[in-house]
Point group: C2
Chain length 247, copies 2
DNA sequence: TAGTGGTCTAGACCACGTT
DNA sequence: ACGTGGTCTAGACCACTAG
């Protein structure tokens, strides 16, 4: 009834914060899988010897971070990239006009293996020269290639991954990471700039040389702020743009 | 003790949601001013005839939306753009290298009045031809102009605003809206794309013609999703970029 | 009908800032 | 010492889903 009694010291961590950490650990260890329900609030309360209200506050925060999803009357579930709903969490580009629904697809253009240079090693917190998987991929709207992605993955985390697996997989890439490798992307950081189209981009996107493109660098993380993927994307913003809300 | 009893109907609004609306109304009407404290949770609880916990939940959400700011031991305050802390809430551009602190300033280049064309009228929910104030403004980092803003304001909301007021004001533009006109920007939506530099941009930013620039369109809102400002910005991203977190 | 999350209450106690 | 927000509890009742 009071882990907090062990914690009168300088840095005070509330009970619900400790519960949050315990729940996150169970998630990271795979005790509860994406898409599956976690135990009810009452069950967790008795398991951790706290009140339902304390568990509730921990779950509230995890739900706010899109780690868990609450469904009234049904239970609390581990968030998953498989749900169609979450497609736009990590795809902030959409069409500029009207609200037509575009069919969105991804095409794998190139697959190879290589080693981390200084920049990628820094971003992914790897050692320089660590083995990487490198993908070149295009996102199409209405079958027109709009975004070109150069994607870099630590080979150690994705053993056995190959081009055929990616091409044949029906969902998003993050859904593949989750279902095939148990790696759930929880959050990401992006840096945007305007760049001139290079040859790779003109070929893949069908734009003129030096056309202005929206350049996006992204580091994607899993539980515990562990970086898992780095990508550099270039987007043709003639008919599409990047949406953002400032709160 | 139960406004909610009036509300067994199809759409159910919890008590704390109603309290949230009441608090927001007091804010919009100026009963509590930016930077000032609102009444304590206990005071509000007795004022609204609900428990402290219900007021607490309402305030929690408003604090999550950056409408209010909690300070333990001191009270709950109306958020303000005057605080240095909030400078970066609406400025997502920063330097690319190291973590040097750049002196950031704004320069007014041009001031005029005009009428709303179709696009601006739509964005600001005005009638076509409504009176506007138009600003051309540059944001400088280390005294170098990096971002050029074309800003459009409904003249009806900013009576008497002129170039001298803006140039002599020491804080951010949103701080000026707040202190001089009682209009607090609460949130905004942005659309980003890559564009080629036009003459206005080459002159103000010192880049080559057709250089790729990051184009940002923003609609800024006050309480009740009321649009108050529209701006189109162009940013030189050679040494700076736009940061974003995806949750 | 039973089980889940969602709301609301009342009260105790803690952490923080000010007086 | 006092008042503020922050945490935690225990219990009642509501809303939603499913068998």
């Amino acid at each position: 009834m009071s882990i907090s009694k062990l914690n009168n010291a300088p840095s005070f961590t509330p009970l619900y914060g400790q519960i949050k950490i315990l729940i996150t650990q169970s998630l990271a260890l795979g005790e509860w899988r994406p898409g599956q329900p976690i135990p009810s609030e009452m069950d967790l309360a008795s398991r951790f010897n706290v009140s339902q209200g304390t568990v509730r506050k921990a779950i509230d925060e995890l739900a706010g971070e899109n780690i868990l999803v609450r469904r009234q009357g049904k239970g609390t579930f581990v968030a998953t990239h498989t749900a169609e709903r979450s497609r736009y969490r990590f795809l902030r580009i959409s069409g500029i006009k009207g609200k037509k629904e575009y069919p969105i697809n991804d095409v794998l253009l190139h697959y190879k293996r290589g080693k981390a240079d200084k920049e990628i090693a820094e971003r992914l917190k790897l050692k320089r020269g660590a083995a990487l998987i490198m993908l070149l991929r295009a996102t199409t709207f209405s079958n027109k290639p709009i975004i070109l992605h150069s994607i870099y993955l630590p080979a150690a985390l994705f053993r056995g991954l190959n081009g055929a697996m990616i091409s044949s997989y029906p969902g998003t890439l993050y859904s593949l990471y989750e279902t095939r490798y148990g790696i759930r992307i929880t959050h990401a950081e992006e840096r945007l700039r305007a760049v001139a189209a290079d040859k790779t981009a003109t070929d893949a996107l069908g734009v003129k040389p030096n056309a202005p493109l929206l350049g996006i660098e992204r580091v994607a993380y899993t539980y515990g702020d562990k970086p898992v993927e780095w990508r550099r994307s270039r987007c043709n913003t003639d008919q599409h743009c990047y949406f953002n809300k400032l709160g």
